[in-house]
Every structure is written in structure tokens, then in C-alpha cells.
């Protein structure tokens, strides 16, 4: 199936979503994903950050789709033409989405553990505007302890439902969910029941913002001061493949390994995540690769960096050619740096 995204044509399997087709082309084309999470079934379609314009539905029916469509759940058709970063309407809508997501967000990045690996930060940095238009008081919630390991700060939550799907799909029995509706909806365990499950810690990894944080890591370090190392152990419950985050010689945090889209490759158990915090518990496998543009690569630990990977060489060449001819006149002129 051939699909054209931002003038780059790519051949994909039937049933691929626009999002995944765009990801195959490269990170510069991929729409932002705040709620979509590939390892979790039924996720996506909620944040509306990935809306794209379909200018031609398919080869057979080349009519454009009337509304913007969520790329994470819309499957490609043969001959579909999609506009993502080159469509003014899409970029304008995305600005609006960032504004909506930040409307009741506390913007407490300076004290938030997620800062530096927060998808909302990336999203608003790439697509948001610097000025706020709201003077309204923000909705606030009190932080809640969900058991011994997880802290919930509902103020930061964007209701992506990822943690709900995680609990549904990889743990045996979900005890938390979404209560109430509208902008007073909240993630809750109903009567502050503790989440107690061998795989519950994974909700921390899937959370795109700092709503669910690791209590054993809370306020220990900024992400960019720590050094990620791949490590493994022979764990009976999970694959034992993790990333250790060092500060000096001390393991301050253990997380699952994530791919270039920030998605967990293999979910890990709570024993690995919260209790094995000595180097002697692990077999080290070398530094974790970090994307060049990530703030984490700003540290001086010598972790090797990833250059953007192009699965299709041809697509890469095509992209370079087209890139220069793009009409970006509608974008605000960039300030010249002296």
C-alpha cells in the first residue's frame, strides 16, 4: 500500500495507521503522540495532538476527508495523501491542542521529576505558543499516594488513559480508573486503595507527564544529571531487561527500556524496578543510546547518540529534495541569531 505523507511516498503493510507510516519515514514527519502508545491496545484518539489532514482518501476515492483525522487510529488506504507538518490548519489546530492541554496544567516543571523526559514538554516546545491567553484559575487536586511506590499528582495529568490500559492489559486486575467527567475527571483508586501488583510500576513509565512518579526516585535528581546504562538480570517474573539511571556510582532509578518514541519495549516487574538498586544486582550491557536532541544527552557521560534512522534510503533522499521547496511562508519568520 502506497501512502504519501508530506510529499514523501512510502510503501506500508495494509492495516498500518497513518502514525506508524509516518514513523517509518522518520521522526521529523511523525505526528506527536500524547495518548497513543503502540504496546497498549485500544490506546489513542483522545489527546487529538496527532490530527492530520487527509487531502485524498485513497486511489479509488480521492476525495479529501472533511475533518482532520487522528493519525494514530486512522488506517491508511492505498493512494492516501496526508499532510502533517506542511498544512497550516493542522499546525494551527495543534497550537490549540497544546493550549488546551496546558490550560489546567500547573507548569511546575522546575520541581517535576518528569522534566526532561516529558512528552508534554516536547509537544508544547514544538507546537505551542509562548504566551498564555488564560487568566482563569486552574483546577487543582491534592497529590495522592497510590501505595508504597507510586505518587499521583493529578494536576499534571492529561487524561491519556495510558495507565488505565496498562493496568488492564499487563496486570491481573485493575484497581484504578477515571472518575467523574469533563475537566473535573481524575485518575483515582476510588477510596485511595493502594495499587499493589507485581507490574504496577509500569504505569510510571507509560505516563507521558509527571502525574505518576516513582516514589523511590522522587526529587533525587534531574533526569539530565543521570547517566542511563542498559542492564539485565535473570528475573523470574519479567525479562529483566532494564535501564539503570546512575548518578555517580549510585543507581538512583530503574526503568524499562524505551524505544525512540518513548514507548516501553518490554514491561518490567516491581522487584526489578524498585528493589534491585545495587550495581551488583545487574549485568551491565553498556550505555543507553539517547537521541541527539534529547536533553538527557546533554550530560557528559559519553553515551553514544542516535542519528535519525531512515528505514528507506529513497525516502530520505526524496525528503531532502522536497524540504527546500516547502512553502513555509505561513509560519512566523524565524529570528536571525547573531
Amino acid at each position: 500500500m502506497k501512502v504519501t505523507i508530506d510529499n514523501i511516498t512510502i510503501d506500508v503493510e495494509p492495516g498500518t495507521t497513518i502514525m506508524n507510516a509516518a514513523r517509518q519515514i522518520g521522526p521529523h514527519i511523525a505526528p506527536p503522540a500524547m495518548c497513543y502508545y503502540e504496546p497498549l491496545k485500544a490506546s489513542g484518539g483522545k489527546c487529538r495532538g496527532c490530527l492530520v489532514k487527509v487531502t485524498a482518501g485513497s486511489e479509488k476515492d480521492p476525495r479529501p476527508m472533511p475533518k482532520l483525522v487522528p493519525s494514530c487510529i486512522t488506517q491508511v488506504q492505498d493512494g492516501m495523501i496526508v499532510e502533517n507538518t506542511i498544512n497550516e490548519q493542522v499546525l494551527e489546530t495543534r497550537k490549540g491542542i497544546v493550549e488546551f492541554l496546558l490550560l489546567n496544567h500547573p507548569l511546575d516543571c522546575p520541581v517535576c521529576d518528569q522534566a526532561g523526559e516529558c512528552h508534554l514538554q516536547d509537544f508544547s516546545f514544538e507546537h505551542g505558543v509562548s504566551k498564555t491567553r488564560t487568566v482563569e484559575e486552574r483546577n487543582t487536586f491534592e497529590p495522592v499516594d497510590l501505595g508504597p511506590y507510586i505518587k499521583l499528582n493529578m494536576n499534571r495529568c492529561i487524561l491519556c488513559y495510558r495507565c488505565v490500559f496498562t493496568a488492564d492489559q499487563i496486570t491481573d486486575g485493575r484497581v484504578h480508573g477515571v472518575m467523574h467527567r469533563g475537566d473535573h475527571a481524575e485518575i483515582s483508586t476510588y477510596i485511595e486503595k493502594a495499587i499493589d501488583n507485581d507490574f504496577s510500576g509500569n504505569v510510571i513509565d507509560v505516563c507521558p507527564v509527571g502525574a505518576l512518579t516513582d516514589k523511590t526516585y522522587r526529587f533525587k535528581s534531574r533526569v539530565w544529571f543521570s547517566k542511563p546504562e542498559e542492564a539485565s538480570c535473570s528475573c523470574g517474573k519479567c525479562s529483566g531487561k532494564v535501564t539503570l539511571w546512575y548518578r555517580g556510582d549510585e543507581v538512583i532509578r530503574v526503568t524499562a527500556r524505551k524505544n525512540e518514541w518513548g514507548e516501553v519495549k518490554e514491561f518490567i516487574c516491581n522487584t526489578c524496578r524498585f528493589e534491585r538498586k545495587k550495581t551488583s544486582d545487574w549485568t551491565l550491557e553498556g550505555p543507553t543510546k539517547i537521541a541527539r536532541n534529547s536533553v538527557i544527552s546533554a550530560n557528559k557521560y559519553g553515551a553514544s547518540t542516535i542519528t535519525p534512522a531512515f528505514p528507506l534510503k529513497q525516502a530520505a533522499e526524496q525528503y531532502k529534495q522536497i524540504d527546500d521547496n516547502r512553502d513555509r511562508s505561513f509560519l512566523a519568520p524565524k529570528k536571525q541569531l547573531n
Binding site: 487529538r48 489546530t93 488546551f100 487568566v135
Partner: protein, 446 residues
């Protein structure tokens, strides 16, 4: 011309005996004994009946989209959640004449080949659910429901399900989620319910009024039905009238009468209450754009506006509105449009399910800004802000609730911008009790 409410004032019409004496259940006998399901569908297609829940999608076409794979059950779900502010027609029909709906349900289920059907009713209407359940029991006792109805070999079980009382559960996919026992969050479409609906089986969701109309169509033929009405707006429509008219209530009218007649004729609403003038009308439930008096009576071409799908939407959203679900709210010159918009805005803020971000945050934002303007704390830029927020919600949400929240705000500013400006510029006057801005030279200013 009355179809649904012809016998509604007959004493004891809620009992099956009186209902049958007045010609009830003739459609069931005719359909099940003399017609095939496809023939029933064909009649409904011919009738041109359009969905009465709000969107006005042709019902026959909706039925023909239903996927019919072998060995998979199909469902018919009646949407009796009716929670649009200003709309109370289904409530009235079900309360007064429950068998009208049940007869329609049997005929429609037969046409679709559904052996289990549901009536999903709003939680607040508990007593109507009781009336319906009693009627269903009566129909069962007479052999009109259950196994082998009237010896035709067709089985149908009909259930009444109460919702929790959420506006969002009137959206068809949220309704199905709620019916399955889950949180009433709308689903992403596609897949549409006609392919994967209730329990992932093909499902048709129809409004009470649409389903009730099918039995008349079976009795008298689709062509007869299509003769009533005007153009593509065929048949009769229940309109729930509220507000400053002499005779508010539920009226059944043939589509195509003029709006002016409907408001002023003694047969219908009987005019605006004494000594007052028409200011604005919300023609189809709270979610459709509000129109000022001059635009609701005449289109911009100078033609009389009619009570029909096409005529009311003439001029698009710039100068038109929608027939919607038929919640006709009439306001005279004592009504403050800003206050009215705030009331609608607050409703949508409260009823947003919170699943997708534009609706969740946008409705709350609009509510807060409107609240400030109404209470004398507005800023000049707030009006444009509201327009922009409405624009960013519209069309970008999972379900139409986002649009429904954005349209009334955008329309109120479009047609009554001076009222918003007056509120912002004269906060002391605007916050006084009963204060309303009177536009000079407008038809409603005294």
C-alpha cells in the same frame, strides 16, 4: 395531520386494550404476517423518514448500512436518553403512549433481523421506564413479544435499560458503552455501530420518535408518508416548545409550515406572551445556533423560513440554524443572551465526558470566560477569545458534543456581539438584576 400523537389524549391509551382498539399493533400484524424484513426496510426508505434525534440522517439509509454477517446477532437500540436542554418530546410520547414506541420497536427489529432490542432511557426518567416495562409485560402477555410472535416464527426480546443520567450517553457510541456496563465514553469512529456496535456486533441506534414513526409507515406505506411534509423533510415532527410563548408544550406538526405561523398561530404556540416581542429562538435544542427574530422568521433571501430541515439550515451557520432534535426555545426581549449562553456553556462544561482534550478543557474554559463576562469581569479580548476557542473545539473532537458546545457560543457572539460588548463596557449596569441590553432599532427593542 397527526401520526404519533393522534390518539394520545384517549383515556387509558397506555393500556394495551385501549391502544389496540385505536388501531394499535396493526403494523406488527401486517409486517410480521404479510411482509418480509426487506420490504419493511424498503417502505422506510421510500418514506424519506429522517432521524429525529438531531442529525437528520435518512433512516432507511442507516438501516441499509447495517452489516449482516452470518451467525452474528444484530441489535436495535432505541435512544431514549433525550437530554438536550429544551427537548422533551420523547419523554412525552413514552409517558403518554408507551405502546406506540413498543409497536415501532417490534416492526423495526423485524426489519433489521434483531432478536434482542434495547430501549436505553435516561436515569432521571425512572417513572417512564416503569411505564414502559409495564407496557412490555402487557405486550408479552398478548404474544406480541417473546418467542414466535403471532405465530410468525419471529422472536424478539425487548429490554429497558436505565442510564446514569449523563448527556453524553445520548451520543450513540457512548450509549453503547454505557449499555455494555462501562463508563459512557464515546468511541472513536470508524468502526461505526452499523459494523461494530453493541458487544462488537452490528447495531442500529435510532431515536424514539423515528422508531415510533415506522409503524405508521408500515400501515400506510412509505409513499403516503412522503406526501406529508416538504421536499426532503418528509412526515411530521414533534416539537417541544418552551420559553416565552402563550402555549408551551409538545406539538406534532407536518414539516413545512412557516416558523411565523408556528410561533404566532393560535393552533400552535399562540404568540409571544402578552406585551412582549420576539427576540431570539433556539430552534432545535440547546446545541444549535441561536437566531435573532428577523433571521428566524425570514431567510436572507426574504423568503419565509419553514419548519423543515432545509429551510432552517438555509444560509449555513452564518444566518441559519438547524432543526436538530426539535427543542424550540423562544425568548422575548427580557432575555439576556449572555446569561443564556452562560447557562448553555455551563451545561456543556458539566456534561463533557473528559476523554478528548479540546472538549474537556475547551468547554471549561468557555464556561469560565462567559461567567466572568456575565458577572462584570469581562475583558475586551474575551469575545474574540471565545470565538477562537469555539473554533478550535469544533470538528476536532471524538464525538459531536464538542461541536454542540461550540456552536451556541459562536452563534450568540455572531448575532448578539453588541450585548457581550455592553456587558464588558458597562459592568455595573450589566450585573444589575434583570438587566438586558436593548439594541436601538432592533425589532425587539421597546
Amino acid at each position: 395531520m397527526k401520526i404519533l400523537t393522534e390518539h394520545i389524549d384517549v383515556q387509558g391509551i397506555e393500556t394495551i386494550d385501549v391502544f389496540r382498539k385505536n388501531g394499535g399493533y396493526a403494523a406488527v400484524e401486517k409486517a410480521l404476517k404479510k411482509m418480509t424484513p426487506d420490504e419493511v426496510t424498503e417502505e422506510v426508505k421510500k418514506s424519506g423518514l429522517r432521524g429525529r434525534g438531531g442529525a437528520g440522517f435518512p433512516m432507511g439509509m442507516k438501516w441499509s448500512f447495517l452489516a449482516k454477517p452470518e451467525g452474528v446477532p444484530r441489535y436495535l437500540v432505541c435512544n431514549a436518553d433525550e437530554s438536550e436542554p429544551g427537548t422533551f418530546k420523547d419523554h412525552y410520547l413514552m409517558m403518554k403512549s408507551p405502546h406506540t414506541l413498543i409497536e415501532g420497536m417490534i416492526v423495526s427489529s423485524y426489519a433489521l433481523g434483531a432478536n434482542t432490542s434495547y430501549i436505553y432511557i435516561r436515569g432521571e426518567l425512572m417513572y417512564v421506564a416503569t411505564i414502559l416495562e409495564k407496557a412490555i409485560q402487557e405486550a408479552k402477555d398478548k404474544g406480541l413479544l417473546g418467542k414466535n410472535i403471532l405465530g410468525s416464527g419471529y422472536d424478539l426480546e425487548l429490554y429497558v435499560q436505565l442510564g446514569g443520567g449523563a448527556y453524553i450517553c445520548g451520543e450513540e457510541t457512548a450509549l453503547l458503552e454505557s449499555l455494555e456496563g462501562k463508563r459512557g465514553n464515546p468511541r472513536n469512529k470508524p468502526p461505526f455501530p452499523a459494523v461494530k456496535g453493541l458487544w462488537q456486533c452490528p447495531t442500529v441506534v435510532n431515536n424514539v420518535e423515528s422508531i415510533a414513526a415506522t409503524s405508521w409507515i408500515v400501515n400506510n406505506g412509505g409513499d403516503e408518508y412522503a406526501k406529508i411534509g416538504i421536499g426532503r423533510s418528509t412526515g411530521t415532527k414533534l416539537i417541544s416548545v418552551s420559553g416565552h410563548v402563550r402555549k408551551p408544550g409538545v406539538y406534532e406538526l407536518p414539516l413545512g409550515i412557516t416558523v411565523e405561523d408556528f410561533i404566532y398561530a393560535d393552533e400552535w404556540c399562540g404568540g409571544i406572551r402578552d406585551g412582549h416581542k420576539l427576540k431570539a429562538v433556539v430552534a432545535g435544542g440547546s446545541s444549535v445556533p441561536i437566531l435573532p427574530a428577523e433571521l428566524i422568521l425570514k431567510t436572507t433571501n426574504g423568503e419565509n423560513r419553514l419548519m423543515s430541515y432545509e429551510s432552517l439550515s438555509d444560509g449555513g451557520f452564518a444566518t441559519g440554524t438547524m432543526l436538530g432534535s426539535g427543542g424550540f426555545v423562544v425568548m422575548d426581549e427580557t432575555t439576556c443572551i449572555v446569561h443564556n449562553t452562560l447557562t448553555f456553556g455551563r451545561f456543556y462544561h458539566h456534561e463533557s465526558c473528559g476523554q478528548c482534550s479540546p472538549c474537556r478543557e475547551g468547554t471549561g474554559w468557555m464556561d469560565k470566560v462567559l461567567h466572568r463576562i456575565e458577572h462584570g469581569k469581562g475583558r475586551q479580548e474575551d469575545i474574540d477569545l471565545l470565538v477562537d476557542v469555539a473554533k478550535k473545539i469544533e470538528g476536532n473532537t471524538i464525538c459531536p458534543l464538542g461541536d454542540a458546545a461550540a456552536w451556541p457560543v459562536a452563534a450568540a457572539i455572531r448575532h448578539f456581539r453588541d450585548e457581550f460588548e455592553w456587558h464588558i463596557n458597562h459592568p455595573e449596569k450589566a450585573t444589575a438584576k434583570g438587566a438586558v441590553f436593548m439594541r436601538e432599532g432592533a425589532s425587539w427593542s421597546l
